[in-house]
Amino acid sequence: MGLKIIVLAKQVPDTRNVGKDAMKADGTVNRAALPAIFNPEDLNALEQALRIKQRVKGSTVTLLTMGPGRASEVIREGLFRGADDGYLLTDRAFAGADTLATSYAISLAIKKLGKCDLILAGRQAIDGDTAQVGPQVAEKLGMPQITYAEEIVEVNSKKIVVKRRLERGVETVEGPLPCVVTVNSSAPVCRPRNARLLMKFKHAKTVTERQEANEDYLEMYHDRPYLNIQEITVNDIDADREQLGLAGSPTKVKKIQNIVFQAKDSKVLDATDEDIEGLMKELIANHTIG
């Protein structure tokens, strides 16, 4: 019997390549200048899901992302690589959520999707580096969690065996299904897009996207239902609104400071023997070394 797998994926600004134009003149981060990407470790999670799908016949892989309309890109990207379908959890009511309000909304969406066997998430998202959403979703669903997975060694409809990569070593654990597993960047990288799937899902869109593009291919979406990326809004989940979005977030940002280097008075030395000998003598004399 196949497993129903949900992969949590987030669209994030590419904070790894913050170039000069990514900082505005006033020193604040110009988010618009940063490309939005599939959170790297969520790709590692997707790869694990796709491997299970190959191993356990009849398994399905569903992507779930919470974000603004354009986060549907993450779902298309997942479809191009082998996911079966995807849902975009999107609503103004979710805006400004911290990790707790995010995991609350995501856990309700998962409940709405019906019974599932395994939830895979990335270890952390590179915009916040918090690594909190996976464990918090697990707690809210009352499921066990297995974090820092490097390899899913074994899985069947009852149990999962995972090799975890920790700071000072490795640990192999066995747990029951359903459960939440978060995947590390040390796990295998995700397979590339598949040309055939790219053709197949090129036009996959949400209703909102289709309306915005003013496209009138009703027939196409009728004949090929797999091109419909489903949106889930606050009305579709049974939520206590107090716990959503900015208002439902216990943590608040009080202050943001941009990092600017304070230049010191530095002495510039050449790599000549004299300069280096002079420096070393000075360091010895003032007891910095020696």
Binding site: S103, G175, V253, I259, A271, I276
Partner: protein, 339 residues
């Protein structure tokens, strides 16, 4: 009630450095708030653990000692913490931003519906005014952390929910004994009454832990190499310089990612934080994420072939040159000028 709590990470009966660092921070926060410092030890064979932690100024030590609680598993430790916190209602709860703390913290915060801030680099107490709600808070925990790939520093607060929870990276704070004979109170708990069969559902089949061998954090001189060092062989030059100076070798992430050096030597936002009296940065450009882990060094010497490398802005001495050339000269000059 409403005290400052620190979760102790314990391996083989030894309390982790990061927990001792948090006890020291927790002690000072507790003093500012006129509250007690309490610590939580969850594990097995914890006899005598109090002798180890009381000197850091712990007023109450909560001990849950049971065979099921060692080695660490998420569900058992989170169950004990959640039950204890429901009962004790901490004002502040701190844990290490380690693979344990970052696994445990979010689960506990979710169950208690309290906010959690990951990877703090500083913690302070301060006031807050919420103009919209017309509310003034006297003393909240300022949870200060780098965000957005290290390009900004954010101060996070939890005005309403308790405990105010934060994880803190190892090596960012200092540990200090308050008094060798500091006396606290021990409270023992029978964890068996809290644990259900579901809490034991995830079992450890195999475990290989290594003691951390390198100790760059506590070294007074650090010789760090970056991508500009160019090869593993050139890194040996740094080890040689380090050995004559009595220093430890550190590395940038680019050097680690290129396989020049082991991950446990990485310095910076995603590595350790060091504050030696001398930091020699060799072939390191000085990106913000690296600088975050070494900017408190008392003196910085940079060796870089590019005189405009950002690291030179924070260096006391910037040697412009090729490291393959400069490092041997430093070794030679040092040997020539000492006995």
């Amino acid at each position: 009630m409403n005290n400052v709590f620190v979760y102790l990470e314990i391996e083989d009966g030894v309390v982790a450095d990061v927990s001792l660092e948090l006890l020291t921070k927790g002690r000072s926060l507790a003093n500012q708030l006129s509250r007690k410092l309490e610590a939580v030890a969850i594990g097995h064979k914890l006899n005598g653990i109090e002798k180890h932690v009381f000197p850091y100024g712990v007023d109450v030590l909560h001990i849950a000692d049971h065979p099921h609680l060692s080695p660490f598993t998420t569900l058992t430790h989170s169950k004990v913490l959640i039950e204890l916190f429901k009962q004790e209602k901490p004002e502040i709860a701190l844990m290490g931003a380690t693979s344990i703390g970052r696994d445990l913290g979010p689960r506990v915060s979710s169950a208690l519906h309290s906010g959690l801030t990951a990877d703090c680099t500083a913690l302070e107490i301060g006031p807050h005014e919420d103009k919209k709600a017309k509310k003034v808070y006297e003393s909240l925990l300022y949870q200060i952390r780098p965000a957005f790939g290290g390009n900004i520093v954010a101060t996070i607060i939890n005005p309403e929910c308790r405990p105010q929870m934060a994880t803190v990276r190892e090596g960012v704070m200092k540990s200090e004994i308050v008094a060798a004979d500091y006396k606290g109170e021990v409270k023992q708990y029978d964890a068996a009454k809290w644990l259900t069969p579901e809490d034991l559902a995830v079992k450890i089949i195999e475990r290989h832990m290594e003691k951390s061998k390198v100790n760059i954090k506590n070294s007074s001189i650090v010789v760090a190499g970056g991508y500009g060092v160019g090869s593993k062989a050139n890194f040996d030059l740094l080890f040689e310089l380090a050995s004559v100076l009595g220093a430890e070798v550190g590395a940038s992430r680019a050097a680690v990612d290129s396989g020049f050096c082991d991950k446990n030597r990485q310095i910076g936002q995603t590595g350790v934080t060091v504050r030696p009296k001398l930091y020699i940065a060799c072939g390191i450009s000085g990106q913000i994420q690296h600088v975050a882990g070494m900017e408190e060094s008392a003196m910085v010497i940079s060796i870089n072939s590019d005189k405009d490398a950002p690291i030179n802005k924070i260096a006391d001495y910037a040697i412009v040159g090729n490291m393959e050339d400069v490092v041997p000269k430093m070794i030679k000059a040092y040997k020539a000028n000492t006995k």
